[in-house]
Amino acid sequence: MSNRSVVVVGGGIAGIQASIDLANMGFRVYLVEQTPSIGGRMAQLDKTFPTNDCSMCILAPKMIECAGHENVELLTYSELAEVRGTEDDFKVTVRRKPRYVDLTRCTGCGDCTEKCPRRVPDEFNVGLGKRKAIYLPFPQAVPRKVTIDEEACLYLTKGRCRVCEEVCQAGAIDFEQQEEILELEVGALLLATGFDPFDPASLEEYGYGKIENVITGLEYERLICASGPTGGHLERPSDGKVPGAVAFIQCVGSRDVNYKPYCSSVCCMHATKEAILANEHYPDLKSFIFYTDMRAVGKQFQEYIIRARDEYDVSYVRSRPGKITVDEETSNPIVWYDETVYSEAGDPVRRVTSLEVDLVVLCQALVPHTDHQEMAQKLGLELDESGFIAIEDRLFHPVDTSVAGVFACGFCQGPQDIPDSVIQASAAAARVAEILSLEDRELEHA
């Protein structure tokens, strides 16, 4: 029954919400997720603005509801291989990468991970921590099954080890596992591939990659998160010290014609949130947010900014820093920016000044998912000049892409925060429902 089912691409909060809505409407949902677990970027966050809800605590119930729904089939560690056909009659081939683990047997007990000798950088912790070759992306992963990283595994690369196979009581390790190709016939496609952080290294003036204590917003989020590499202690990379002063630099790569001309919409708020979290963990920590426009446009956002300033010792500096240098002994980053001061005569003098802090957090631009281009080609989708999925009629069909029967929601079609992504996800579900119930209505008065 091809036309009562839909493929959702991307298992972040938007993909999850769309899948839940569509499944509750009675449609069959195939949720294709590239990484071993659904959860997406939201799973990497410690808290969410403006309510400071613990991100995982409001995401986990949704992940479990989605995975447990009888109308949803999770296709994790899988990619869209090819899409043929048109609206209401798509033929979608999905490539399931081999996990070398039998999902029906693995209980996620973690014995294998403990014994595995190979340690590689952990993408979930944006490279800050290490993970094993056989790993669970994060404690609350759904499905709670391990995966063997074939580039890291000693056996798969050098034919040695296989210790995970010995310790696994469930006998779930299966090195013979092959790539699987699934043919799906669906009525519609719903894209929710989310975003990737823009690599701020290209802005050499900010010294990311050269100055140890200059990190990105997502790295900061992992450092302050309890399930992160440092167990939630804000230890700065150079010496593990808890910073006394933190500078947040906004619009790194955003609103910049040489890099990303658009505003990534969420950085002002997540910088404020991270400043609040820092002060909450360490009451005498002081934060400085260097911004151009403080874009707090959502519900209860302004109150959040006011509280940050009044109760959490956050000061907002309206200036775009020119460069960041480092004090070699203390490895404290120094932020250079210009400000306006008034001479005694009262006329303004613009001068360059500097602020030494213990840690700099670059709120970098957010871009569509890296292999988003490739997927767009497979589907014949147009992209706008910033690389987002083009939406023809943004006003009255905000989730319809250039290809009939293919819808896009969340960050992949434009910068937006979690509530807006969740809204667009449900909106896309409604649009899909219109198409998939087109056939019933024709039957009605056929």
Binding site: T51, N52, D53, E280
Partner: protein, 155 residues
């Protein structure tokens, strides 16, 4: 902010206060106070009920006479009750019970009713702070059993 350490206020007497909170408004307000990390004294214990209208006077009288130091009933603001009328009955019962308890000599601060909505995290924290301090000032609510008077009863 809230009283910092717990042993301030006399000989380390820590009142124990029973709070009834309605699921839709005051319990949500308490959650919001939590989410906003509003620090407050730790003397209150919340029992969740679906509506403040569920709290029968027997609970209040029993709690006070079993020696709890105070009972605080929280509900939605009149007009905002999820069940539209529940808190109107809480209001009348509260008015009557407050007078009756005062008439038999129980300090008025020991039984209080307050309206806290789902978006009033701060008001919840302030209410807890205020009620705790008022009751701490009264001192322990000695269980009545212990109070054997000696003179013969008079008319």
């Amino acid at each position: 902010m809230a009283s910092e350490s717990s042993d301030e206020g006399g000989n380390g007497y820590e009142p124990k206060i029973l709070v009834f909170a309605c699921n839709w408004c005051s319990y949500a307000g308490a959650d919001l106070a939590g989410v906003s990390r509003l620090q407050m004294p730790a003397n209150c214990r919340i029992i969740r009920v679906m509506c403040s209208g569920r709290v029968r006077p027997e609970f209040v009288v029993t709690a006070l006479s079993k020696g709890l130091d105070g009972v605080l009933v929280l509900g939605c603001h009149p007009g905002e009750c999820h069940y539209s009328e529940g808190n109107y009955f809480t209001r009348r019962r509260g008015l009557l019970l407050k007078n009756l308890l005062q008439f038999v000599g129980i300090e008025p601060e020991r039984f209080q009713v307050r309206w806290v909505s789902a978006s009033e995290g701060a008001k919840f924290a302030d209410t807890v702070e205020q009620v705790t301090e008022q009751i701490r000032a009264l001192g322990p609510n000695r269980p009545q059993g212990g109070m054997h008077s000696t003179e013969p009863g008079d008319r």
